[in-house]
């Protein structure tokens, strides 16, 4: 217990980075996932193909590889630099990699949602003269989102836990990295381990409950 108290400030600081990564990756992946699913259901074959390739490649690549590629490929080789401060730069590189990865899952959850919307809804939308984009944003996606609030919650929970592999992208300041560093100097400590587990659960359990509640509240009655 002593070591948990002793290292609590450093661990808390690390955990704060996980929270920040989650926020950035959460927002960006929801946006990117929405764009991707719009591509996947669009009438333009090129967009559909691009969306399909993106999802299949990204979703089937291990996250650690996505993050390593973001850091080594995108940042080091191709010169994508967010900041001159290495720590800040790797934060954004990891956030980006995580968002890119998670967006494929957001896209697929939303696509499942679109499949719950009866075809008649799209036909009625087109019949009153809405364009494809208007039908999608005004009629289809709002109903699709409501149908998949709970699954999207699960995607977000997975994403939050995935922030602990930030090390793979060269970001060494998150809770898992701090924990490993602590264990390297003091030896493994069950209280520290449990403390981090509790911290993550404090973040993810409410998301599970909240999205479950929201799903019931927003459900579209047919």
């Amino acid at each position: 217990m002593d070591e948990l108290i002793k290292y609590a400030p450093a661990l808390a600081e690390g955990f704060l980075e996980n929270v920040k990564l989650s926020l950035v990756a959460g927002v960006v992946s929801l946006l990117l996932g929405t764009i991707l699913v719009s591509m996947r259901v669009s009438p333009t074959p090129v967009l559909r193909a691009a969306g399909t390739v993106y999802v299949n490649v990204v979703r089937n690549t291990p996250l650690t590889l996505v993050l390593a590629f973001s850091a080594l490929g995108l940042s080091d080789t191709l010169g994508l630099v967010f900041s001159d401060v290495p720590r800040t730069n790797s934060f954004w590189i990891v956030a980006l990699g995580l968002a890119v990865y998670t967006s494929a899952f957001v896209c697929e959850a939303l696509r499942a949602g679109i499949n719950t919307v009866p075809l008649g809804q799209a036909e009625a939308a087109r019949a009153i003269g809405l364009t494809f984009f208007q039908s999608l944003t005004l009629i289809i996606l709002p109903q699709a989102f409501r149908a998949v609030v709970a699954p999207l919650g699960s995607v977000m929970i997975a994403m939050i836990k995935n922030t602990t592999v930030a090390t793979a992208g060269g970001f060494l300041a998150d809770a898992a990295a701090v924990m490993k560093e602590t264990f390297d100097t003091t030896g493994a400590s069950i209280p520290i381990f449990l403390g981090i587990v509790v911290a993550f659960m404090a973040l993810t359990l409410p998301i599970g409950y909240y999205t479950g509640w929201l799903a019931r509240r927003l459900a579209v009655v047919r």
Binding site: Q121, G129, I139, V220
Partner: protein, 251 residues
């Protein structure tokens, strides 16, 4: 209900063909709908009635022939097609009201987003139309809270809100409980009296007799017979039509 001064037909189909895989659902269809005309399409299931109706606003594409609406060949896609659709109202068998929007929002959506009408005037017009179809009191409810008959009347108000040049009715009463059929038909008869151009796919012979100018009988993808309602129901010319009528009129 008489035709007005403009003599060009509103809708003209020439040699229209359509296949669903091996199934030839529309065979060389030639048909015109005049302005102000109420056309009823009847015939056995699977005979191509709905496909014909849906082809007119291109919810179904066609494989051959041309469809002209208001002097213009139907655009293939994009903004031009959306504009055409905004002029052709459609009422579906399964209502298809937007499930996540209130009754009022269902009626105002098209005017707001397609016609770019101001919110206030769209709302006023929506309430007028809902009043006309007898649903004004339910304006803030959601579609699932209404009966089928009420939903279908809202769907008619939604179509009317676009000030369409024509309304297509694809079996508008087929999904309704029997006691709700009449309230929807009454609204449709009212529209017909007001001179709306209508194409109605239906099995409601009573409506055809009361409101139609012309009946088109379709079977196996072809227009088998065209006549006035009185002539058609009392003196059908083809065996196929007589056979159909004997089956539906005896019970």
């Amino acid at each position: 209900m008489t035709e007005n001064g403009d003599v060009t037909p509103l809708v003209q189909l020439e040699n229209v063909n359509k296949h669903f895989g091996a199934l030839h659902v529309l065979k060389d269809i030639n048909l015109t709908v005049s302005r102000g005309e109420v056309l009823v399409v009847i015939g056995p299931s699977g005979g191509g009635k709905s496909t014909l109706c849906r082809a007119i606003n291109r919810l179904e594409t066609i494989d051959g022939g041309t469809i002209t609406f208001d002097g213009e060949v139907l655009p293939e896609e994009g903004k031009a097609l959306a504009r055409l659709r905004s002029d052709v109202g459609m009422v579906f068998q399964s209502f298809n009201l937007f499930a996540h929007k209130t009754i009022r929002e269902n009626v105002t959506l098209g005017p707001l987003k397609v016609r770019r009408v101001a919110k206030r005037s769209a709302d006023e017009r929506a309430m007028e139309l809902l009043e006309r179809v007898g649903i004004a009191a339910q304006a803030d409810k959601y579609p699932a809270q209404l009966s089928g008959g009420q939903q279908q009347r809202v769907a008619i108000a939604r179509a009317l809100a676009m000030d369409p040049k024509m309304i297509l009715f694809d079996e508008p009463t087929s999904a309704l409980d029997p006691e709700m059929v009449q309230e929807v038909l009454d609204v449709m008869v009212g529209l017909a009296r007001d001179g709306m151009t209508m194409m109605v796919v239906t099995h409601e012979m009573g409506f055809a007799r009361r409101a139609a100018n012309r009946v088109v009988f379709m079977a196996e993808g072809q227009i088998v017979e065209e006549n006035t309602p009185d002539e058609f129901f009392t003196n059908a010319q083809t065996d196929r039509a007589r056979d159909f009528l004997s089956k539906i009129l005896t019970h």
